[in-house]
Structure formats: C-alpha cells, structure tokens
Symmetry: C2
Subunit: 183 residues, 2 copies
C-alpha cells in the first residue's frame, strides 16, 4: 500500500444529476486523522484536435454556463454510458463538425481536475477529413459556431483569452510541437 | 448579446462544501427552449512549473481521492478567498517545495472543465530557487512526496500514466517548447 493512500471511512451521495454526481467521503489520512473529501464524478469526455487539408484547426465557439461566456474549444463531448472513447470521438467529430476522418488517433488522456473531480479527457488527433452530406447534428441543448483557424490565429485567441481551457491550450501546444517534428 | 448566450431563469444551491459549491441552473437556450445546467463552483487554483538549477522539474507525488490513486503533479494549490494568484503561487511554492523563487512568472491561465465547472488555474514558471531553512510546510490534510525529474523522465512518467493531469501535461509540453526557444 502506498504510504500516501487514504482509507475511505464513509461515502455519502449529495447529488445525482444528469451529468455529474457529487459525493462527500470521510477518509483516514496517512497520519491517522480524519478529513472529508468533496468529489465530483463525471462520465469522462473526448476531444479532437481536427486539422483541415489547409492545415487549419477546427474550433467550436460555445457558450459555457459555468463561466457565463463564449469561448473557443476543440470539438469535444461526454462519453455515453459504456461508450468506447474512440467511438465517442468519431461520433462527436461528426456531430460537431459534420466531418468524418479516416485517421483518428489517440494521442493523450488526462484528468482535468484531480483535486475534486474524476473527469478524464481522451484527446484524439484527426486529419484527412471527409465532409458528410448531412452536416453537423448537435444535441438538443447544444448550440455552437464552427470556425477554422491557423496556428497563428489560435495563438492570438489564447492571448485574447478566447481560447481559455485546458484541452484547447494543450491542442495548440501539441500542434506547435508537431511543427518541430517532435510528435 | 452573443447569439449563443443562455439566459438564467433560476439558480438553486445544491451543496456548499469546504471547497466546492454545486448549483443547478435553469436556462433559456438560444432557440427559446429550457434546459438545466449542473455547475460546480471552485475558488480557482495556481500551479507552478518549477525548475531547479540542474534543470530538473519539481513534482509532487500525491494521492488523489477522486481518482483513488497516486499521481505526479506540478506543485499547485487553491486560492484563498480574496487571494491574489501571484501571492498564492509564492505561498504554494514554499509550502510544497520548501523553496522560494526570485523569478515567478505567470505564463498561462485556463479553465480545467468549462462544461461543468468554473475552476480556473493560473500557471506560473519559477526558477532561481532558494531553499528555505524551514523546508516544506503542508496543510493539515495534505501529504506528498517531492521529487525532481529530468524532462526525459517526465515524458516517461506520462507514458506510464503517472503524470496524468492537465496542468502537468501542459507543463511538460511547455518545457519541451522552451527547449526550441519558442517561449
């Protein structure tokens, strides 16, 4: 057993919503004392770094209620129960951009907020896009604008705090490293 | 008004914990229909990419209850109420590493999970470390191991899914780009 491990003494469900679940767990700390941990459970998500044949990055402009603002993000979406991340990436790519890709590659996964949430995000890279006849098909409560930007424009959007989230900042750095042949 | 904006019709407090607050808000969507948004409010955080004089990255090994596992992260911590992010970065650097830095520079901020949380993380870069006589001074419920790794070792930790969170993956990419003189 790792000496940093915390033993769960009790676990209480506080909220079970459509997307997140909130629990408070009492733990025994490594020094034997007790503490409470507030935990958000999330189904996990995928995001896709999508490059057009003109080497432009596809972004979605989307209103985010928790921030009360519109930001630019790489296409992304939550995993359905039991859904394989690759299938989810294919689905979200088509839903949000109206494209499919013959080449959808997993490049990285990471937890977004390990201090309080178990959300993991699986990042894929897609190029060789094929536009589908029926175009994007969004969820009922989803509204977004699709835009294409160069890497330079993406950097400008970061400076202007319009790209302002972990997965999209990661995507821009990834493309920058790709330029150096590092990836 | 942005055409993607959602109007808040009602906002209900579900949970107010020590760290997070959970709300459910009813919104009017751009098409006039109604939906609910589940929102986690978080005080925000800082994280510090800390480089030793031997060009090693300081990481903390920490058990994360939401994941039920130990991962390696760059030093980080939550903002106290009203605390300035730079002051928080100075405090967390000293608490978690036992060092201060004459050069603590803000390099990027990002939201970690804009779909359901308002957590923002401010990333700083620190080198020219000065070891303080009293060493690290952790919070009562905080237990961690401090380790130093080369950039190559950090890449290996990513491969082994021991570095597995957004801010630390960002940090490794950042140092890689710095090598190319991009930053």
């Amino acid at each position: 057993m790792d000496h940093l491990w915390e033993k769960t003494l009790s676990s209480q469900e506080i909220f079970k919503g459509k997307i997140i679940e909130v629990r408070v767990e009492e733990v025994e700390l490594p020094n034997g004392q007790k503490s409470n941990r507030e935990i958000v459970k999330h189904p996990g998500a995928v995001a896709i770094i999508t490059l057009t044949s003109e080497n432009k990055l596809l972004l979605v402009r989307q209103y985010r209620k928790p921030l009360d603002r519109v930001i630019y993000e790489i296409p992304a979406g939550k995993l359905e129960p039991g859904e394989n991340p690759l299938d989810c990436a294919k689905r979200e790519l088509e839903e949000e951009t109206g494209c499919t890709s013959a080449s959808l590659i997993h490049i990285q996964s990471f937890y977004t907020s390990p201090g309080f949430a178990d959300e993991i995000i699986h990042i894929y890279y897609a190029d060789q896009l094929v536009k589908q006849a029926n175009g994007p098909g969004l969820d009922q409560d989803e509204f977004l604008d699709l835009v294409e930007v160069t890497l330079e424009e993406a950097h400008q959007l970061i400076k202007e705090q319009k790209i302002y989230d972990a997965k999209t900042v990661f995507a821009v750095q990834y493309l920058q490293l790709k330029k150096y042949g590092e990836l």
